[in-house]
Structure formats: C-alpha cells, structure tokens
Symmetry: C2
C-alpha cells in the first residue's frame, strides 16, 4: 500500500468532511492499485508527480533568475499544496482574499501576502489578527483610507502590520492609478505608527494570457516601468523598502528580463490549465505539465451520438475554454455543458462506450475549478495516494 501519510492523519485533517459517504469511499481506496479510477465523481484529481515537477521547475527558474518566489495560493487554496511549494523553496504564499488567508493561516501556513485591498474596519481588524499570528504576514493597500483603517486596527491589536503599496499597471482593477496617488498612500502609511511599508506590488493580469512570448515581453516592458516610477517617488519622500512583487505564470520570462520585480507571485504553473496551455504554447513560460484533472463518469449512455457524464456547470469553471477529455480512449471526443450536474461527451468513433466508464478532463481555468471542490484526490500513476482539504475553497469573504 502506497500512501503519502498515515490514514489517521488524513482523516484528522479532513474533519467533518471525512463523515461524508463519498469521502469515506475515497479514504478506503487510498494506496490500492487502480484506485484512481474508483473514486466517487466528479472529483478534482492532482497528478502529484507532475505537480511536484512543476513546483521544482518554477523554483529552479526563480533561483536562476535571482527572484524570490511567493506562489499565488488562489490557484489551489490548499495548505497541503502550499506546504509542498514552501518545502521546494517558496518564501510563503500569496492569497487573494482575507478569508482565504485566514483558512491557510489556521492550517499553519506562514509568509502570507494578501494581494488585494480591503475595505472597512472589521476587515482591517481581521488583517491585524493575522499579522499577530504570522510574523511574515503582509497586505496590500491602494488608498489612504485603507492605510488608516489597517493602521488603527494594528494599533488597537498591539501589532505592526506590514503593508505593500499596490500599483495599477493598466488593468484598473486595484492599485493606485497615478504616482501622486501612490505618494498620498505612502503618506497615509507613514502617519500610522503601527504600519510598516514593506514594498510595492504591480500585477498585470491582462498580460498573462497573451499568445506569444514576444507580445508578452513587449506588453510588460511597456507597463511595468510604472513600478520604478512609484518606487522612486516614494523613496524621494524618504520611504525605505526593498520588496517589488508581482508577476504571473505567463510573464515570468518577461518579468525576469525587465529586472524590476524581485519577487514573483505566479500560481497557475503548478497545474497548467487549458487556458494557459493554449496561450503559452511552446514558450519557455509554458514548460509545465498538466497536473490538475477533473474525473467524471458516464451515467447515461442511451443517446446515439453522445454519452452523459456526471460533471457539469458545478464541476468546472465556465469562464474559459470548455473541458477537454484526456487520453486515447476519448480521442476526438468533445465536451459540452449539459446543465448544472451533467456534461455531454460525443462518442469516440473507434469504440463503444460503457455506462459507468471513467473520463478525465483538463481544467478549463484552474482557480475557479478547484474552488468547486472541498477536497482534492492526489494520485501517482493509477494509485490514489492522499486526500487533502481545499481549506480556502469558498473562503472569499
């Protein structure tokens, strides 16, 4: 029997989830030959060998480029996977949301940077509490009022909160929109004795899925200079900081070439979903393996031209390309959404399909796909070797 850790440890981590009949079935399968294809479906499946190779490859790329790696946990939201990244050299993880950070912090992850700004006193108080637990905790701010809220919460909690000033690189999603706004936020930070300016952040989400390494390099070269400008303006005001953080899976090469960032937040490389696979092609940035799959089962095979599987709108992210059936057995088959719970898969031409048959799909967009699952099935080859909680799933508040 091959498993990653004792069954008792797995069951303890799963908590109330272990009481679900479907989880009990998965637990009983751990370590059995062929168990990968006996789990209750639909299921999120991680090929652990491919995942670990992706993690090692990105760690090596970052090291070679002299960059610190703080992978974005919004891709997996899972403490067990974060621990593997940290063991391979990452300094911690990024989180998109406060509740996601709280969930991973409660599971023991340290070195958390929340990459999105907060609004409101209750949220600021929660951030201060995280800073009290995690000495390497930090959070972005993009408005003077945000700095004031967190500063006052930090003072009330008797902690220092490290903040990172978020700079908009052209998306207009979060971040200061101008150098002047940056200086104003800097002044608001200085005014709070319980805040420490750790550095600045810029994330070009709109650059990540551009097709073509040259196109991405040009876009990054065009936009990332904003970080240098804001850094210079802040330093001219007397701020002292070293961290310049940002970047993603698609722009790693371009970011490294620009030499402005010293910390990289890439996350999707760990899974290499269909969206990134299609955008990055054979570029260096795309040299990662598909490690995340969704496994489904044929539950009805009465129609002539297709079969129905038990994975639909609730099993996959629906904002990107459609899921793609994997493997020779399903060569040429196409998936279409068929309601909340079901998918249509066209019958392969070369063989008949049996009711109950398994099929694995690529994840269309990894982050919201994993967010559909309370737990992930970790496999090596055809053996289920571990079950892990997705602690941050649904924790968007």
């Amino acid at each position: 029997m091959t498993s990653e850790r004792p069954l008792e440890a797995i069951t303890a981590e799963l908590g109330a989830l272990a009481d679900r009949p479907s989880t009990a079935l998965s637990l009983a399968l751990i370590g059995q030959p062929g168990s990968r294809y006996q789990i209750p479906t639909p299921a999120g499946v991680i090929d652990l060998d491919a995942f670990d190779r992706n993690v090692a490859r990105m760690a090596a790329r970052a090291k070679a480029a002299g960059l610190v790696l703080r992978p974005h946990a919004k891709s997996h939201k899972c403490a067990a996977l974060a621990r593997r990244q940290i063991a391979a050299g990452a300094v911690g993880v990024c989180c998109a949301k406060l509740a996601e950070a709280e969930a991973l912090s409660a599971a023991g992850i340290r070195g958390i940077l929340i990459t999105s700004s907060l609004a409101g006193q209750p949220s600021a108080a929660r951030a201060a509490r995280l800073a009290g637990i995690d000495p390497d905790f930090a959070i972005t701010v993009d408005h003077p009022d945000g700095a004031t809220e967190i500063g006052e919460a930090a003072q009330a909690a008797g902690v220092t909160v490290r903040v990172v000033l978020d700079v908009d690189l052209g998306m207009g999603r979060t971040g200061v929109a101008s150098v002047d706004q940056g200086v104003a936020v800097g002044a608001a930070i200085i005014a709070q004795p319980s805040l420490k300016l750790l550095g600045i952040q810029g994330y070009g989400g709109h650059w990540q899925h551009m097709a073509g390494a040259n196109e991405r390099t040009a876009a990054v070269a065009d936009g990332i200079g904003k970080l240098t400008e804001v850094a210079a303006a802040l330093r001219a005001q007397g701020h002292v900081f070293s961290l310049i953080t940002g970047g993603g899976t698609g722009t790693f090469s371009a970011d490294a070439a620009q030499g402005i960032l010293n910390e990289i937040q890439a996350g999707s490389y760990a899974f290499m979903d269909r969206e990134y696979r299609e955008a990055l092609g054979d570029d260096d940035d795309g040299a990662f393996e598909t490690s995340l799959m969704v496994q489904a089962r044929v539950i009805s095979a009465n129609a002539e031209r297709w079969v129905t599987v038990d994975a639909g709108l609730k099993a996959f992210a629906t904002d990107g390309p459609e899921p793609e059936p994997l493997g020779e057995a399903w060569a040429g088959s196409k998936y279409r959404f068929f309601g909340d719970e079901h998918g249509m898969v066209t019958r392969p031409r070369h063989r008949a399909v049996a009711r109950g048959e398994r099929v694995e799909f690529t994840a269309p967009h990894c982050d919201p796909t994993i967010d559909r699952y309370d737990l992930l099935h970790l496999v090596r080859g055809d053996v289920l070797v571990d079950l892990v909680r997705v602690e941050g799933r649904g924790a968007s508040q």
Copy 2:
C-alpha cells in the same frame, strides 16, 4: 432584536463554519438594524419575505392545479429552505446528486427523490442506505444495469428501494430514449425483488428558458406525450404505478394544461434568477419575486470610469447572463467579470461612489451561484435574521 431562532441553534447548525472569522462577524450582527449591509462580502443573501411569498404562491398554484409539489433542491441545496417548502405543503424535495441527497438526508429532510441515474455498485449501495433512512426515498433509473445494481444493493442492505423510470423527452441527457428501452428497464426492475416501480419521470430542461408562454406550451405539448406512451407500454406489461413526475419553473402552466404529470419538480421559482426573469417576462410562470441576491463591496475606487467590487468568477455562476446591480443608487451601472475575485462596476452617472460602499446583484443562474457559498444570509428588510448552511454545496459526488 429580530431573529428567526436562538443564536445557539444557528451556531450549532453551522458547526465548524461558525469558527470562521467571517461567520463570527455575521453571527454577531443577527437581529441588528441595518445589519444586512454590514455582513462580510461577497455573500449570498436571501430576502426571506420574498422567498416565503414565492413558496406560498407555487404551493397555491400546484394545489389549484391538483398537482403534488416536490421542489427541486438542486436550486438551493439547503435543508433550512427545504423545510420551509415542506412546511408550505411540498411532499419532499428532489435532489440532483447522491451526495446532495445524503447531505439533506443527514440534515433531516425526508421524501427525497434523486432525479438523476447512478452508475456503479458503490453508488447503488449508498442509495440503498438512504432508502433505509427515508421511507419516502426514491431514485430514477434509465438502464437495465442500473436497475440490477440498485436491486442487488437493496437486497444486500435488506431494504426495498423505490425507483422511478426516467424517460428522455428529447434532451438526450438522461432517460430511456425509446418505449422499447423503457420496457427493458421495466423488466429489469421486475426481476429485482427489492425494487418497487413507483412511477415514471420526464424532464424537459430544454423547454424551461424558452421565451413566450405559447412557445413553451407548444413544445411541451409536442414532447410530453412520450410519458403517456411509456406509461401505457409499462402497464401493458403488468406494471402498476401512479406517479408521473417532472416539470420545472418555466413550464408549470404548460405542464398543468397537458394534464400528464401529477407531480411537479420546479425549483428556481423560489429565487427567480435573472435567466428565468428574462425568459418568463410577464407570463404567469414568471410571477415570482427575486429573492436571491449576491452582496459585494467596493474595494477599490481609483479608476475613473468604474469601481472594483469583491465579487468575481468565484462569487457568481458564469454560464448565464451577467450579474445586474440592483437599486436606484446603481441605476444604469453595468457589471463585468474582472478575474476570480473581482468585478468591475461602471460608475453611476448621477453620483460619486465611496470606497467600501455596498452593492447587491441579481444572481445570473441561481443553482450554480448558490453552490459558491457555504452559507446563506437570510434577511427581512435591512435586518439579517438568520444564517443557514448550504449542506449540499459542493456535494456533487
């Protein structure tokens, strides 16, 4: 202080969820004036008055038409909301998936019909276990092998499982595709001493969102006769049964007019999402109120033409129309997805928007939207009156 039930009861039901800092904040707000607009966001919000009126209206419509109502719980996946429907006259609820049924059964809901077929011995054994707990449990079958699997599981468990033969009305998703297939499944059911044929099911999912009552009526008239044919063929083989179940929110009037179904599975009427609202317009079938909202907050307001809210791809279903901001304050504003965690909302022309401001949106498609949330915030007016678990959220296995 106005709350639906004692705080201790709410906390006990929430279990480990009550330990989340965001949940603790919500619990502390229950019953306070204005608390609706202080909850951690993004949040699923149910206007309980509107929900109850919807439930009463559908109960009255079913009663007037002489139809039994077994609302589909895949719309809400929530025992507390199912209990309100049952208290208003529903005979139980439908579930789409086995794990969803297990979750609601564990929360005390009885009279569950699983409307989707299963495949495999482990799933059949789980269905037999549910039948042992719930005397009114039933499950659909659409293949002789499915009948055999459940029959053998029922015999092994020493229970009788009531089955409903699923008939494809033209979607090709599940169900027998022909009268001959129906007769074959009927024979397989008869061959299992631990199965009882309770009735037949036909669901025209493809008819539900057709615009225009006349169009829906014509489509139903054209397709639903298949149920009569299959029923006649089964009765000619000696089967005795009375239940003919199916239908949805969009086809209620058409189903009632045809007089073939005697049980209705509609679910979405309880919320009236944007997708149904647009399809049903002023038809009788659309005479329900919007009771499900997603509440978000402005977390960044640095851009000139829009603001950024904390609800994105993970907060809304993305398979239907886009979320729509509600209320006079946001009149004319449009929402666009802005990544996993964020949305862009165009600034209203008539006023400035403050960082931290609240905005509520219609749910684009209710079922997968609610599936994003572990709990729902029940409100009356501007007061948060209850927090309930979505027990079946993520329970698709």
